[in-house]
Amino acid sequence: MSKALYELTLHAAWAALQRGDFSAVELTQSLLDRIAQVDGQVNAYLTVTAELALAQAAAADDRRSRGETAPLLGIPLAVKDVLCTEGVRTTCGSRILEHFIPPYTATAVHRLAAAGMVLLGKTNTDEFAMGSSTENSGYFPTHNPWDLARVPGGSSGGSGAAVAAQMAMAALGSDTGGSVRLPASYCGVVGLKPSYGRVSRYGLVAYGSSLDQIGVLAKDVRDAALLLGVIAGQDPHDSTTMPAPVPPYSQLLSEDVRGLRIGLPDEYFVEGLQPEVNAAVQAAIDVLAGLGAEVVRISLPNTDKALPVYYLVATAEASANLARFDGVRYGFSADSANILDNYRDSRGQGFGAEVKRRIMLGTYVLSAGYYDAYYLKAQQVRTLIKQDFESAFTQVDLIASPVAPTTAFRLGEKVDDPLAMYLSDLFTIPLNLAGMCGISVPCGFDAQGLPIGLQLMGPHLGEATLLRAAHAYEQATPWHSRWA
């Protein structure tokens, strides 16, 4: 039985395009048909740019017919709707930006375009990337393709669901506290969060600027490595990008992990972990050991402080970043008599509940009298969390853990209890505080058929080793070849 074109991995589709097996227009049409067929149930996309996609695909075919090529020439991708796309509506999942058309394109998206991508559309997200389930979207929730009654994870839930339901060959997401890795885990796809400073944040609408990093959701590790190679690198528009050269990640993959030391942090294998998640992750570690990795127990003693540190630091940064939405320069503007009421009403009516909650918390912890007790204290404990990782990475090359304590939960299950929702990010948040890199790789299913993710974490700029180990594990197991 031959595969439909939308079922191909990115690297297989690219090779087939090069051989002339089919055209970029045919490939793009296959993805657009797939979107038309299933997105009515999944709701992964906020905007589908069908006409633009077909025009870009035709241009790609034209370039290829003239003997040109490029790493993503004619490959249809999706982009999380927190990344600016010139001329294409960018909402951030918020009603406050319902009609916002950016006048410029984010560097990461620009680099994909320069490499020849076809843009299928913009994917759903928790409002301003604040959430763990994509239920905080100001438009509609996204459903998990494996079980439509469950969440896809968040905040890049639209990107995770789009890749899992094969409505995009891969997608960009953003990860501030786990927002690429969590949906990858819940949706059974690969999710890579690069090190802070590896990918330019220019044109990524800011949430927590010291934590935000653009990442990729892909069908396999090779595709993720290819995409990272395209989007990574220094950018004059983002002075927090590292000048370090970008290795050819996809060429450095191998199936060899012999001699690699992998640490298992005691603090990540605790009570409250769903037994099937624990079993699947332990089995994955056995596979890596069987491939020749050396597995050692380690400790990251400040792990239990990461969640409160995150919710003080991220909300403080968010409250400052979201001050720009003032009803004057862009976005929703209320009908108010004077400028101060216009600020209050535009923001009060334009933002959703979770965004207002985080602005309030962030404003409180930065306010006079509380700054030292909350914000400064959180930044000091952040140092201890970062030191935990630095110390661990003197003993091991990578750290392995579950991505999340459970598999995907039901829509509506946690919407009224913000703290319970925040706990889904328990195992992903520490890495953002430390600025290091991590990946979610499918490692099995629970009794209900819901995907489980293995998290591998690496030191700052350790993506090459991270991807090599993830690839070796993936190739030794069948999980990446199962689809919703």
Binding site: P103, S239, M360, P418
Partner: protein
């Protein structure tokens, strides 16, 4: 740690957010619960620990001072709810 509705009202004003009475009551409870959870940080000894506002070793990133075209006025103001002659139009700033 319990926030009073007066404190929540004050924070909302600092953040320039118009909140309903229901929202004020809801956030008073939820923010109190989150801050109570964050209380565990107070037990960590940090008197000799420097804060980490930012994880990279980069300092003073310089750029060449090269002239380049900037965003045209028409594009820069294209998303404004209200504009006039290339400017953003705002509501009254001074009463009367």
């Amino acid at each position: 740690m319990h926030l009073t509705s007066e404190e929540v009202r004050h924070v909302a004003e600092l953040a320039k957010l118009r909140l309903s009475e229901q929202e004020l009551a809801l956030y008073a409870g939820q923010l109190s619960a989150i801050l109570e959870y964050a209380e565990r940080l107070q037990q960590v000894e940090t008197s000799c620990v420097a804060p980490t506002p930012y994880v990279l070793p980069l300092v003073n990133v310089w750029a060449e001072d090269l002239p380049a075209p900037s965003l045209p006025n028409e594009l820069a103001t294209a998303n404004a709810p209200d504009r006039e002659d290339g400017f953003f139009r705002v509501r009254a700033v001074f009463e009367e």
